[in-house]
């Protein structure tokens, strides 16, 4: 099997799993417990916090709050800070942000504003800035688009946003960026969501990185864990495994980026040009590549490919409901429904090899040709 759906989830890193194993078996204690064994676990979590923060920002200026996933981190950021006036985000957001904005609108809390996208899926910065006024309380812009891989220069955007309205809280969904793109958070970023399972960690672990000094109202209330900002007994095993997996990933982050960039160019060059047209551009994240095959249905191609051992993602679904059928993001990039119907997402991880891409290309091309013949 060749796995090209790493934007959905990645295979957990084996060494990180074995290293963290001890927190399932011998060191299973509750980190909030008073005895020494429990207290020691608190130290372990603290260490994980630092290890997860250090590669992307100053541990003096930011802190790390563990959550159960990226979606929870996004929700906590939005529900805690988008409370008045209007809030601005982009049409390219993951549903964790997009639907939460819609929900706030339904509840009558804020007026949501969705900035349009450019053809590659990155936000049109000028139009985003035009939407910001003195009543804007919150802005959320994803770092890397999960469908097209387009990169938003969030440090630059945040600086411009703050210049226009310094009171805005700036959040970025970094789920597809953390541990992948070599990058550091600037002081203009207030909140940044991350997820473990996109970089060899486990499902069920995520985090919200927060600028120190910013008071974060709790979203989940209870026993006061995470300094009262996110109650619930910590997933110690998941957190430690995340720490180990991220440390491993960050160690080769630049090399991976450069190597995958080459692989991605190779992929784009190798796809049958009569069938596939690229959505992702060379400037985007090499981890995510979206293409479309007009006239073919992405999901059908996905099924035929999975029968042949190639696992990919798609932007469309065999849904009888048009709302669920086309990717809202791809349509927002300016593609029509026919094009959006044929989207294929090929996403890499640090373990993807040139061999995988060569073999994958051959099968993807031949399956697409065959399917096109059958559906003519």
């Amino acid at each position: 099997m060749i796995y090209f759906d790493n934007a959905a989830t990645t295979k957990p890193k084996q060494t990180a799993l074995s290293r963290a194993q001890i927190f399932l078996t011998e060191r299973f204690f509750n980190p909030s417990a008073m005895y020494r064994e429990g207290f020691a676990i608190q130290g372990e979590i603290k260490q994980a916090r630092t290890a997860l923060l250090a590669p992307i920002c100053s541990t003096q200026e930011f802190e790390f709050i563990f959550t159960s996933c990226g979606t929870e981190a996004d929700n906590q950021a939005i529900f805690s800070f988008a409370k008045r006036g209007n809030a601005v985000t982009t049409q390219g957001e993951h549903s964790a942000v997009y639907s939460t904005f819609q929900e706030l609108k339904n509840r009558g809390v804020i007026e949501p504003r969705f900035a349009p996208l450019q053809k590659d899926g990155s936000v049109d910065v000028q139009k985003l800035l035009d939407m910001i006024d003195e009543k804007t309380s919150f802005v959320s812009v994803n770092h890397i688009n999960n469908e097209t891989g387009a990169i938003n220069d969030i440090n630059g955007i945040a600086a411009k946003v703050k210049k226009k309205n310094p009171r805005v809280i700036f959040h970025s969904d970094g789920v597809q960026a953390y541990g992948k793109i070599p990058f550091r958070l600037s002081k203009d970023i207030d909140l940044y969501s991350v997820s473990a399972h996109k970089i060899g960690g486990l499902k069920g672990v995520g985090g919200l990185i927060k600028r120190k000094g910013l008071v974060l109202p709790p979203y989940i209330i209870g026993g006061g864990q995470e300094s009262g900002r996110r109650s619930g007994t910590e997933n110690v095993f998941g957190i430690k495994q995340f720490e180990y997996a991220a440390t491993e990933k960050f160690a080769t982050i630049k090399e991976d980026w450069a190597r995958l960039k080459e692989l991605r160019s190779f992929l784009l060059a190798g796809l049958d040009k009569e069938i596939f047209a690229p959505i992702s551009t060379e400037n985007g994240s090499p981890y995510v590549t979206s293409v479309y095959a007009e006239g073919l249905r992405g999901e059908i191609l996905l099924h035929t490919l999975s029968d042949k051992g190639i696992i990919v993602g798609t932007g469309s679904a065999c849904s009888s409901n048009a709302k669920h059928r086309y990717s809202r993001v791809i349509l927002a990039c300016g593609y029509n429904e026919k094009q959006a119907d044929g989207v294929l997402r090929i996403s890499f991880c640090d373990e993807t090899t040139r061999n995988d891409v060569e073999e994958g290309l051959e099968i993807i091309n031949s399956c697409a040709r065959e399917l096109r013949e059958r559906m003519k």
């Binding site: 999901e299 059908i300 099924h303 035929t304 679904a317 065999c318 849904s319 669920h324």
Partner: protein
């Protein structure tokens, strides 16, 4: 005093010499539906008693029994001694806190010293002096205390009657093959036929890779819900992808559905005969969609040679069908937005009144037998308990 459940059956009463056959199947179905729950069942005359179950299982038992066809009503009762004091103790548990009531008594044991009327009078008096908030109303009481003196020196005391699913026990009327899609209608059609005593097997057509596994899983979920009424079912799935592709390639696009449906009916009949089913059941409702016109039905029926095709929903409006789907618990699953038959090949304007000679002309371009054989090669069987 112990809690028991009284079960009364429906139309089986009307049966004559073969009543025993119906009773036996009914009893088996009850046992099947209570599988996994500790209980005992007894069959005194004309009804069934469930006892020796754990108190915390009562709700689960009742909700399962309510789905057993052939069951007219059931009551949660207390079995106690026949002295008036014992009966009164049980009656207290049956009584509501306030409102109006009456006592209905029945003597199975005619040696009992009091007549039915006397039992009702005396017990009514005891209840009135026990709770001053209650009043007697023999015409329109808000609840009834029923007393049944039985021949084994036991009395049953119970409150209201809980309505069952009625109909005939599944398995008393043979076996049907339900053509199940992922939609709202077919599970309802299956439910209606099962209600009249037929065992139901299901057949589903998919077009993988044009449809996905979620769509198939949805059908498994629907069949599972249906099986709680039908004492289990067998679901078979067959791929019609190659048939759609061949029609798409060789025939007029507006006849896609008409031709495909003829294949489905052929496959269904052959499958039905193999598994011993005696009819085909579909969820068609006249005029609901382009293929469900009388011409469409004629075209499908003409390929079914030996079996009747039952369409229990033929005269139902969509709203009526939805109401039933909600009631039997399939609606929520049915409206999940997965395609059941791929729309890739669907024409913009399907033929509404297909003519048989034209259909036959188009069909002659296809290797019908070969394609049916290929379809059977893809058959998968899922047993749902």
């Amino acid at each position: 005093m112990k809690q028991v459940i009284i079960i009364r059956y429906a139309e089986i009463y009307l049966k004559g010499k073969n009543r025993g056959f119906f009773e036996q199947i009914f009893a088996n179905n009850i046992e099947k539906s209570l599988r996994g729950i500790k209980h005992e069942m007894h069959r005194p005359s004309g009804r069934y008693i469930i006892d020796n179950f754990a108190e915390e299982d009562v709700d689960e038992i009742v909700s399962r029994l309510k789905k057993v066809f052939g069951l007219h009503t059931l009551s949660l009762a207390y079995e106690t001694g026949t002295s008036l004091e014992d009966i009164f103790e049980a009656a207290k548990l049956v009584c509501e806190e306030e409102g109006t009531f009456k006592v209905e008594s029945h003597r199975g044991d005619k040696r009992y010293p009091l007549t039915s009327v006397e039992i009702s009078k005396k017990l009514g008096g005891m209840i009135l002096s026990y709770n001053y908030k209650l009043k007697v109303d023999v015409h329109k009481p808000s609840f009834t205390v029923n007393v049944d003196i039985r021949e084994n020196d036991k009395a049953l005391v119970f409150g209201n009657y809980i309505e069952g699913a009625n109909g005939m026990p599944v398995g008393t009327a043979g076996k049907a093959l339900l053509m199940i899609s992922g939609g709202i209608d077919s599970p309802v059609a299956g439910h209606m036929i099962a209600k009249r005593g037929m065992k139901i097997d299901c057949l589903h057509f998919h077009s993988y890779p044009y449809t996905n596994d979620q769509a198939k899983e949805k059908v498994v979920d629907l069949a599972t819900t249906l099986s709680s009424y039908t004492c289990g079912t067998n679901l078979c799935t067959v791929s019609v992808t190659h048939i759609q592709e061949a029609i798409h390639e060789k025939c007029k696009p507006e006849l896609m559905i008409t031709l495909l449906r003829r294949f489905m009916f052929r496959i269904a009949e052959r499958h039905a005969l193999r598994i011993g089913a005696q009819c085909l059941v579909t969820g068609e409702s006249l005029g609901q969609v382009a293929s469900q016109t009388i011409e469409g039905m004629t075209s499908s029926n003409s390929v079914v040679e030996k079996l009747p095709v039952l369409r229990p929903l033929v005269g139902f409006d969509k709203n009526e069908i939805i109401d039933r789907a909600v009631k039997i618990g399939t609606y929520e699953t049915s409206i999940l937005p997965y395609e059941d038959c791929c729309t890739v090949f669907l024409p913009d304007f399907p033929a509404i009144r297909p003519k048989l000679d034209e259909i036959l002309r188009e069909e002659s371009k296809l290797d019908v037998e070969g394609m049916i054989e290929q379809a059977f090669a893809s058959l998968e069987r899922i047993v749902i308990m």
